[in-house]
Symmetry: C2
Subunit: 340 residues, 2 copies
């Protein structure tokens, strides 16, 4: 089980929920163990097994299974889109790591580092195709595959926007929010949508659930931006201020530019052109001092809360008794409560 | 229209066939023109439009449309899998060109050269997802998408085998044939299968047609290997002996190794370690002299004929009157007759 679930506070009311999550995670692990990710040539299949069998959070499968359960669907059917989502997500990681030149992922060398870029491109391609094969297996397979196809294209758009932002001088907050919607939120929303679809939920409910996913997804990413700078490094598991060191145009940075005086803005823009040869710690400290003065953390948290509120309103609008929604609601709270 | 169709000899019995091919090519071009390959961000979509709107042979769409017509299917339905196949094929070209470091394709700079590798990876990914979206559109969409998923995985396997062969010292003829089956033949076979599927053909007939495609596909690739060395360069449009210059382990080379004396084998193996710094023309000439002495061209043509015969037997086995099969048969003959 992943760390943030382990760290979740056990209070009696959470007990049943925790057992449910544990059980779904186990069911998904068992289902994956029955699949054979080996094949010939081994150069193609080893990176696939290496990536997909690493223990990730299985966040997207969990959302799919919880959504399916919420609408009283058959778990055996929902395990297929859950697997499709996890396979798809891992494909995006393999290809993104090539583009981001990321040496490590989940504490292990990335595929393009351990093997090479050609193998990383090809294994990723094969995983994308496999994801469709999995999505097509259960009832309503054609619909599920269509949902996967749409989200796959959106995620490519989001990744391309993100790549563009690296070299763009001006990025608007609106464009940034659209980028994280495409790069992060749509897949969480689609995970919920697929779970509800395979369960046979009605169209309006599926749409509310999808919108719930979009809103928690954007909130989730905004929180990631905050945690990168304002968190206990040991718990969060990433280096402190990594986004600033990498000159990443996050919500904090864009909000700071918006709120800054002419002088602060110029200084921030200058600091975000410096590369590694500069003293990293000093740079992070100076940027953080500006952020603090401008209260951009508080501004970001405010926006996060707005998205959380919108998410809950969508969940409320679903035509089901409250007790049906409790697991998914608790899971979403757990996600947005991690490591604050 | 592509060159080899233009060069096809017009005799009265071919007239109706040529009109049919022209009409299908026009229908496909019109259908593509109705699709919108533009979108945001432009960095993602421009390479897609650039690649897919280049005039290729449209070989896979033609096979799909001819197969559909053979079984009396509705052309409007079959245009979707035809588009899926062409989009998919172009995705493989974009990614293969990165791996092969190919600077040009169809007389134009390749995507990774014109833009960059990141953009080539991402546009390719988006095209793969689009191909599934297209395959899912018509009747029997789930089946078509499954066929596309299977062939996509096989093609990744074939490409990986091909990459492996570059550094492997020994490649068996059996492995080579398996590689070209996966890299080339399965997509032609799937094009026919998709056309027959959307037309509602019966299972046994679809299987025969698929096998026909596998056999003409392998024959087609063997012919490509021969033409690379034994053809009029001006007509074939590639540099003469390019495979030898690149040390590609083709059927000719592997057959030569099998038939060669100890001395010839050692000499061939040595020549196939030389890189560009060596005199290219001299090397090609020497290799060709060995091939000629061992009669590997004739041996290859014999194997090609075997595959052609097997292909025809599969076509014969299809439960349809002969006149229904004539267009596809003529098209296959046209393909295998090109530039001899």
């Amino acid at each position: 089980m992943c760390d943030w679930v382990k760290n979740f506070t056990f209070v009696p009311s959470n007990l049943h929920f925790m057992e449910k999550i544990k059980q779904l995670q186990q069911d998904f692990a068992d289902f994956m163990a029955q699949r054979d990710f080996n094949g010939q040539p081994t150069e193609l299949y080893e990176p696939i097994a290496y990536t997909i069998l690493q223990s990730g959070k299985r966040l997207r499968p969990m959302l799919c299974l919880l959504a399916n359960e919420m609408f009283g669907g058959d778990e055996q059917q929902a395990l297929w889109p859950a697997l499709a989502l996890e396979t798809f997500h891992n494909f995006t990681l393999i290809h993104d790591d090539i583009m981001d030149k990321a040496p490590m992922r989940r504490g292990m060398p990335t595929v393009y580092q351990k093997w090479n870029s050609d193998i990383a491109i090809l294994s990723g391609d094969a995983m994308l195709a496999m994801a469709f094969q999995f999505a097509l297996k259960p009832q309503k397979g054609a619909e599920l595959a269509q949902q996967l196809g749409r989200v796959a294209i959106e995620i490519c758009e989001g990744q391309q926007m993100d790549l563009n932002f690296e070299t763009l001088k001006k990025v608007s907050i609106e464009d940034y929010l659209e980028m994280i919607r495409l790069k992060t939120a749509v897949l969480l929303a689609t995970a919920l949508q697929m779970g509800a679809t395979v369960a046979g939920a009605k169209e309006t409910d599926i749409q509310h659930l999808y919108n719930f996913g979009i809103n928690i997804g954007i909130s989730f990413q905004l929180q990631d931006d905050i945690l990168d700078l304002y968190s206990d490094v040991a718990t969060f598991g990433k280096r402190h201020g990594g986004d600033i060191a990498d000159n990443k145009k996050t919500y904090l940075y864009l909000k700071a530019l918006e709120l800054a005086s002419e002088n602060d803005r110029k200084r921030l823009e200058h600091l975000f052109t410096l590369r590694m040869d500069h003293d990293e710690e000093e740079k992070i400290e100076e940027v953080q001092a500006i952020y603090d003065r401008l209260k951009v953390k508080e501004a970001s948290e405010q926006v996060m809360l707005d998205y959380d509120r919108k998410a809950l309103a969508e969940l409320d609008a679903i035509d089901l008794p409250e007790e049906r929604k409790i697991h998914l609601k608790t899971y979403a709270e757990l996600l947005s409560g991690r490591k604050k």
